[in-house]
């Protein structure tokens, strides 16, 4: 059951947080050194980002063993493609977490597809508690900022973004789960992200 994605209940995640994200120049520099083969720099990069990476993978795939595999694969990819990171196009953390997220979503979908083949499967949408508090990292200002921004979204925007990003559902699945017309969910996801982008000053 622990590979099953529930419908997020949308409740705030308490004091979960991450190391401050204000270290963008340092992370970019560590990646640049990693591209030259500097393993110590990459270890430092790992230490500064692993809680965010693993936490995101765990939230999406839910199974801790799978989350570890996804995280490890993502860091291996990041190491390999470190020379292709372009600090002019975004932050190092954002670049890494995009890799982690893609791998986590691919994993959760392939596990479901395999389960469907093996057992004849109905997706279980029973809510399950996110029991992460005991392991959570320290609260951070960034996490509070993000929560405040998310709180300003409309209900449909917030649920669409969370189902897609944390649930790993496709926009057509999100439309069905939220009982909105097909084609509406992708617009809500985009509207919601654009609002968050503007509120949090991402450029």
């Amino acid at each position: 059951m622990d590979h099953v994605r529930p419908v997020p209940d949308g409740a705030p995640q308490g004091d979960l947080g991450a190391p401050s994200g204000g270290d963008a120049p340092r992370l970019a520099d560590l990646l640049r050194r990693a591209a030259l083969g500097d393993e110590a720099a990459f270890a430092e990069f790992y230490d500064a980002t692993s809680a965010r990476s693993y936490g995101l993978a765990l939230r999406v795939v839910r199974n801790p063993a799978h989350a570890e595999e996804v995280t490890q694969e993502a860091y291996l990819d990041a190491w390999r493609s470190s020379a292709r990171f372009d600090s002019g196009r975004g932050s190092a953390a954002g670049w890494l977490l995009t890799i982690v997220h893609r791998k986590a979503v691919d994993r959760v979908r392939s596990v479901e597809a395999a389960t469907a083949r093996d057992e004849g499967w109905n997706r279980d949408t029973t809510p399950v508690d996110h029991d992460q508090t005991a392991e959570s990292a320290h609260a951070s200002l960034d996490a509070a900022r993000v929560r405040n921004a998310v709180a300003t979204l409309t209900d449909v925007q917030r649920r669409a973004v969370e189902l897609a990003y944390f649930g790993g559902y496709t926009h057509t699945e999100v439309a069905t789960l939220l009982d909105v017309p097909l084609g509406t969910a992708k617009t809500r996801i985009r509207d919601g992200l654009i609002r968050l982008r503007d509120l949090m000053g991402v450029s």
């Binding site: 995640q13 947080g17 190391p19 994200g21 990693a34 591209a35 083969g37 393993e39 990459f42 270890a43 790992y46 230490d47 692993s50 809680a51 965010r52 990476s53 693993y54 936490g55 995101l56 765990l58 570890e68 291996l76 190491w79 390999r80 493609s81 470190s82 020379a83 292709r84 975004g90 932050s91 954002g94 977490l97 995009t98 997220h101 392939s110 597809a113 992460q132 392991e135 990292a137 900022r145 993000v146 998310v150 973004v161 897609a164 990003y165 944390f166 559902y169 496709t170 926009h171 057509t172 992708k186 617009t187 996801i189 985009r190 992200l193 654009i194 968050l196 982008r197 991402v202 450029s203």
Partner: protein, 236 residues
């Protein structure tokens, strides 16, 4: 076009299925506005992970560092000068069905490559796997295509050689066949005469790989007869 543009958000949070993703990525290659918006929305989405941070098990650090020590970082992307691609005539659809026969007779089996290199891209992992099986189909005027499947990697890759483009408004769609009569979509073939595409999905148990011509964006099930079938049971 305007409809595709609205998929930036769904793409940024990986909320597209494989076919939509492939289609949108081709659009991205041509749309600077969408590329810029996707970058910003991916950056925004990544901030959501601030609220879910969890310290990983200490053992993961050692696994990651042991893993990277065995692989060199890829070289940076450097500008290359390439000749403009030759203009090819459109392949007439009417001939497509006849090619199934050519596909059957044209299959050739290669031996696996030796000396697997360190882990590289997904395609390279398959191409260099010790158990790689290769089946090639000569499509005549349309070019040539080779499917490489690795059971240990559970993946298949198709490599095209001077392949004619799909007809206007159509895509080449790839299929994995778990048995002779079942087609499971494996995504769209990358555009271009000489391309390498990793098939989506589990390939270890596939008996064959097929290519069909489908309406732009692909189909859930084939709507035309395959233009080529690669029989994996013939390879060793």
């Amino acid at each position: 076009m305007s409809d595709l543009h609205k998929l930036t958000g769904a793409y940024a949070v990986d909320a597209l299925n494989d076919l939509e993703r492939a289609r949108f990525e081709r659009h991205l290659a041509e749309c600077e506005d969408c590329r810029a918006e996707v970058r910003e929305l991916q950056e925004t989405a990544a901030l959501l992970a601030e609220s879910t941070a969890v310290e990983p098990p200490a053992s993961l650090r050692g696994s990651v560092l042991a893993g990277i020590s065995q692989v060199r970082p890829l070289p940076p992307v450097v500008p290359v000068t390439s000749a403009p691609s030759a203009v090819r005539h459109r392949f007439p659809l009417l001939v497509a069905a006849a090619l199934v026969l050519i596909a059957g007779f044209g299959a050739v089996v290669w031996q696996p490559w030796s000396n697997p290199a360190p882990t590289l891209t997904a395609a390279e992992q398959v191409l260099q796997a010790p158990d790689a099986q290769r089946v090639s189909v000569d499509l005549g005027d349309m070019g040539k295509a080779t499917v490489v499947r690795s059971k240990s990697q559970d993946k298949a890759v198709i490599v095209t050689d001077d392949m004619a483009p799909a007809p206007a408004g159509k895509d080449y769609e790839l299929w994995l066949l778990p048995d002779a009569d079942t087609y499971v979509s494996a995504g769209l073939m990358t555009d271009g005469a000489n391309q390498t595409t990793v098939l989506d999905g589990s390939a270890a148990d596939a008996v064959a790989v097929g290519i069909t011509v489908e309406p732009d964006g692909g189909s859930e099930q084939p709507t035309t007869d395959p233009i080529a079938v690669f029989d994996l049971t013939q390879s060793t």
